[in-house]
């Protein structure tokens, strides 16, 4: 374990959080957006530099920060960069940048820029922390932009479905982490919530395996795994595709699985992971099937998110490094492609003001740029050759088919159906007769930059994928070693 010379991660998160606070006080939405764009662009560059340095020649597996802090028990470093998270930092900030740059002005609220940056700060904290309490706080803060404002609480008791589900998953996560901490504390672990101490304690068998199901349910809800998936299409319908894209792209649920569940429950997880993978497979198939019946753009998007995001978990259950690498690469490719598709859908809505398929059509002639981005980004999410999605699906299908042939065939079928769903959404929106009264223009300069950036990254990495695949393969080998330490693996 190496020590960073300065607490770079803490500084970066603090700068992001501070910027979010400042932006929250800027009343002019365009000015706030400009500030947020600059900050997220700088974060992307910073993340890229960090990743390039970490994965560079002679790199180490983990770099911790120089200071130590005690939240419970002995002091430990709070944040670290490692092979799993370093690539996710520039990825998440790039997603935020694209959304900030490309979202239509009509969908911007006064707090949009501030909440997006706040969410990014929380995501970075969750991705880099070594402490379960920080992770629980970051997980919760990442949801704050979704909480309903007080003035709008209606007479009915239940909150929106996505809020209810996400709150439920947060409670489960906090309970699971607290139980882990208590068990570790009772066993005399010096820092009971630190991921530096917990693996050692876990190998002594002091963490009861009964906590794992609680954690897994939290993860399953957050990931939208069947039968906890209903909030995703509902959120897409109620809050729009961009809010969902921002929440979904970092795949915090899958991250907690890899970062916490694997090292803290090493004895049980290897047996449970195949089961989780099969449940995720159900979500993949279910999302693809129900997506066939979606009647509007937002629900079609929601089902695509359910299906393609669950594929990441299917990849993680593989026994082979190439399958896990496929899952981890898909994490990035699906995140980028679905963000782009969300932007394109938001663009359509902002222009036409409708989203039911029966009231859409004919936009291709009016907005050729938007239509081209829609179809390429949408198909990139389901593995269009020439994009990073193709590489990810290729690796994933190879890995899964070699590990579990039946599941491999099922995911190929589901991806085929998703491809059909994307093209159906595209053709229903952009082809056919133009509804009367629709006079729209093509994408604006700002939107064009965001969509082009996503296209360039997806296609560029699709043509030269080794740079991403290598970083994911390093993380995958690390994970595979944790899952199956015996020599024959």
């Amino acid at each position: 374990m190496n020590v960073l010379p300065v607490p770079l991660i803490t500084l970066a998160i603090a700068i992001l959080a501070g910027t979010a606070l400042v932006l929250g006080r800027v009343h002019h939405p365009d000015r706030a957006r400009r500030g947020a764009v600059v900050v997220s662009a700088l974060a992307t560059v910073g993340g890229l530099v960090a990743a390039a340095w970490l994965y560079g020649p002679g790199a180490s597996v983990r770099w911790v920060e120089p200071y130590q802090l005690s939240l419970w028990g002995e002091a430990r470093p709070l944040f670290a960069l490692d092979v799993l998270d370093a690539a996710l930092l520039p990825f998440t900030s790039f997603v935020a940048l694209a959304v900030l740059l490309g979202s239509p002005r009509r969908q911007l609220g006064p707090r949009h820029a501030a909440t997006t940056i706040a969410q990014l700060a929380a995501t970075w904290a969750a991705l880099t922390t070594l402490d379960l309490s920080v992770m629980a706080i970051a997980w919760t803060l990442g949801l704050l932009p979704l909480m309903p404002a007080k003035r709008s609480m209606s007479s009915r008791l239940l909150p929106p479905i996505h809020v209810a589900y996400l709150l439920g998953s947060t409670v489960m996560l906090v309970v699971a982490f607290a139980l882990v901490g208590v068990a570790a504390h009772e066993a005399g672990v010096a820092a009971p919530l630190s991921l530096l101490d917990l693996p050692d304690a876990a190998s002594r068998g002091v963490i009861p395996a009964a906590i794992l199901p609680v954690l897994l349910v939290a993860i399953a809800i957050r990931k939208g795994i069947f039968p906890f998936h209903s909030w995703i299409p509902a959120m897409s319908e109620q809050r729009g595709p961009l809010a969902l894209a921002l929440l979904n792209a970092p795949q915090i649920g899958a991250f907690v699985l890899v970062r916490v569940a694997v090292p803290v429950f090493p004895a049980t997880i290897a047996d449970v992971l195949p089961l989780l993978g099969r449940v995720a497979l159900l979500a993949v198939l279910y999302g693809a099937l129900v997506g066939l019946a979606a009647r509007d753009l937002r629900r079609a998007y929601g089902w695509l998110v359910v299906s393609q995001s669950a594929l990441v978990l299917v990849g993680l259950e593989c026994t082979s490094v190439d399958g896990i690498t496929g899952g981890l690469t898909l994490w990035i490719s699906v995140g980028l492609a679905l963000t782009g598709l969300g932007l394109a859908i938001a663009g359509v809505e902002a222009r036409v003001g409708r989203r039911a398929f029966e009231s859409l059509g004919g936009l291709a002639t009016r907005a050729p740029w938007l239509s081209a981005s829609f179809v390429i980004l949408g198909l990139a999410a389901v593995g269009l050759p020439g994009t990073l999605g193709f590489i990810a699906e290729d690796l994933l299908v190879h890995g899964v088919l070699e590990s579990y042939p039946g599941i491999g065939v099922a995911i190929v079928l589901a991806t085929a159906a998703n491809g059909y769903n994307v093209l159906r959404a595209f053709m229903r929106t952009f082809y056919g007769p133009l509804p009367t009264g629709v006079t729209v223009g093509d994408v604006l300069g700002r939107e064009r930059i965001a969509l082009t950036a996503l296209l360039v990254v997806l296609i560029g990495l699709g043509l030269a994928p080794q740079v991403v695949v290598s970083t994911r393969a390093t993380a995958a080998s690390d994970l595979a070693a944790k899952l199956a330490p015996s020599p024959h693996h």
Binding site: P160, Q238, D322, G362
Partner: protein, 466 residues
């Protein structure tokens, strides 16, 4: 420079030239520029003629130096542990005829379309898709491994669906494009799974390694006999989709909604033969799987009979041609199943050229009829002589009705496969929306006013239906 390296450079250039033309056209259009129609047609024509010249030069070079196949290792695309994805191109006795056909026919169709689609609002889109198709088809036939072949295969399918829906102001072409894409996607499952299985058994996706010992049509598949049947059946499934074989043939006559030049190049010339190419390329697997070969023969013959039968009652020139093409491809597949590979290759070449010509002439059919009548000095009446006269009248009528209904194939697929699936999906979606509606809708704050304004649309329509 050795002859091998010169041939390798020629082979790479065949693929590179259309890619550069495609990038140039896409780049110019992305920048918002509109070059003249003549420039676009010239760019397409020149690039494909150049590619054709390079292909001819490769052929001559290979003949002079007595080289049977040229394998070009372009490098490694990516690698994870033992799993490698190499970029390899392959020119041999099988791929060269297809490369020549692709460059020649696409180039000719490009020239034809310059007049045919003159001032059409989709002119630029058509040429963009035509160049993309040329690249995809060249990738498909020049791929040195089955993974790369799959990439080309997928792009051909997407281009095909987008071109069927080309005249997109009407609903019908759009629905038909979607239908073709659905069948493609379903059957592509076979190719992807087969590709992985070949890699699994042969430890490589490269044809050179997976089917070693001798060049095409020889070769020995490194797939154990017990697995060969399933791999071969998956490949047959894949080819049935692209080559419109029974029972997946319903999309082909519907694909005639696309512009005539694209019908010619896709369903007369090239795309329709992609399935046959796949089976020829992977024929060493078929050699080890007699059951799959028998299935292929049966599928091909049944399709040939079905297409002839249904094609007899078509009243539209393009539909007649579509069924005629389907019948010939059925025969080609039967030949492949019987092991007559060279015959199949010759058959494909002749059929592709003839059918493309027929498709391109289809729009001028009426004009030509008038010319014939004028030359004959009056109306030429049909003779009234046809083979069906030999059958009893009642049977003839019954067959006629059956042929008009496409032999009940589409209806059967819809009733027993697509219909139930869609009904289940709709039921689940209704239940999901009902569950979501039990919670309150999203808060109405400034951020998502636009979404709230439109949010209840689908819910309302659902409730109205209930």
């Amino acid at each position: 420079m050795s002859p091998t390296s010169i041939l390798s450079m020629l082979a790479s250039a065949i693929l590179l030239v259309p890619i550069l033309a495609l990038l140039a056209l896409a780049g110019v259009l992305l920048m918002g520029r509109r070059p003249s129609e003549r420039t676009v047609a010239a760019l397409t024509g020149i690039s494909l003629t150049l590619a054709l010249g390079l292909a001819v030069a490769s052929l001559v070079g290979m003949a002079i130096h007595g080289v049977d196949q040229v394998v070009v290792h372009l490098g490694r695309w990516f690698r994870v542990g033992d799993y490698e994805f190499d970029l390899t191109l392959l020119l041999d006795r099988l791929s060269l005829p297809f490369v020549l056909l692709t460059c020649a026919l696409t180039g000719l169709v490009g020239r034809f379309s310059a007049s045919y689609l003159h001032r059409d609002e989709g002119f630029y889109r058509f040429y963009l898709l035509l160049l993309l198709f040329a690249v995809a088809m060249l990738l498909l036939v020049m791929a040195g491994g089955i993974d790369l072949l799959f990439a080309g295969w997928e792009l051909v399918g997407i281009t095909s669906a987008l071109l069927i829906a080309f005249f997109n102001r009407r609903r019908a072409p759009v629905l038909r494009g979607l239908r073709a894409f659905a069948i493609y996607r379903l059957c592509d499952v076979g190719l992807l799974v087969a590709a992985v299985l070949i890699h699994h058994y042969a430890h490589s996706s490269e044809f050179e390694v997976a089917f070693e010992h001798g060049h095409w049509p020889g070769g020995l598949a490194h797939v154990p006999a017990e697995a060969a049947t399933s791999v071969a059946l998956l490949l047959v499934l894949a080819s049935m989709g692209k080559s419109a074989q029974v029972p997946f043939s319903g999309w082909l006559p519907r694909a005639m909604e696309g512009p005539t030049p694209s019908s010619a190049i896709f369903y007369g010339g090239l795309s329709i033969h992609a399935g046959a190419y796949l089976l020829l390329r992977t024929s060493p697997v078929l050699d080890r799987a007699p059951i799959a070969a028998a299935v292929l023969v049966a599928v091909g013959l049944v399709t040939a009979v079905h297409a002839t039968f249904v094609g007899r009652v078509q009243v539209d020139a393009k539909n007649q041609l579509a069924y005629a093409a389907m019948a010939q491809v059925g025969l080609v597949l039967a030949e492949i199943g019987l092991g007559l590979r060279m015959l199949a290759l010759v058959h494909i070449t002749g059929h592709a050229v003839l059918r493309t010509l027929q498709f391109l002439r289809a729009p001028s059919l009426l004009h030509e009829q008038h010319q014939i009548h004028a030359a004959a000095g009056g109306h030429v009446s049909p003779t009234g002589l046809f083979y069906e006269r030999l059958l009893p009248v009642r049977l003839r009528r019954w067959l006629y009705a059956g042929a008009l209904g496409h032999g009940g194939l589409d209806e059967g697929l819809e009733r027993f496969a697509a219909g139930p699936l869609i009904r289940v999906a709709r039921l689940l979606e209704r239940l999901e929306q009902g569950w979501g509606a039990r919670f309150v809708p999203s808060p109405r704050d400034d951020r998502d006013q636009s979404s709230v304004a439109t949010a209840p649309l689908s819910i309302r329509s659902q409730e109205a239906k209930r």
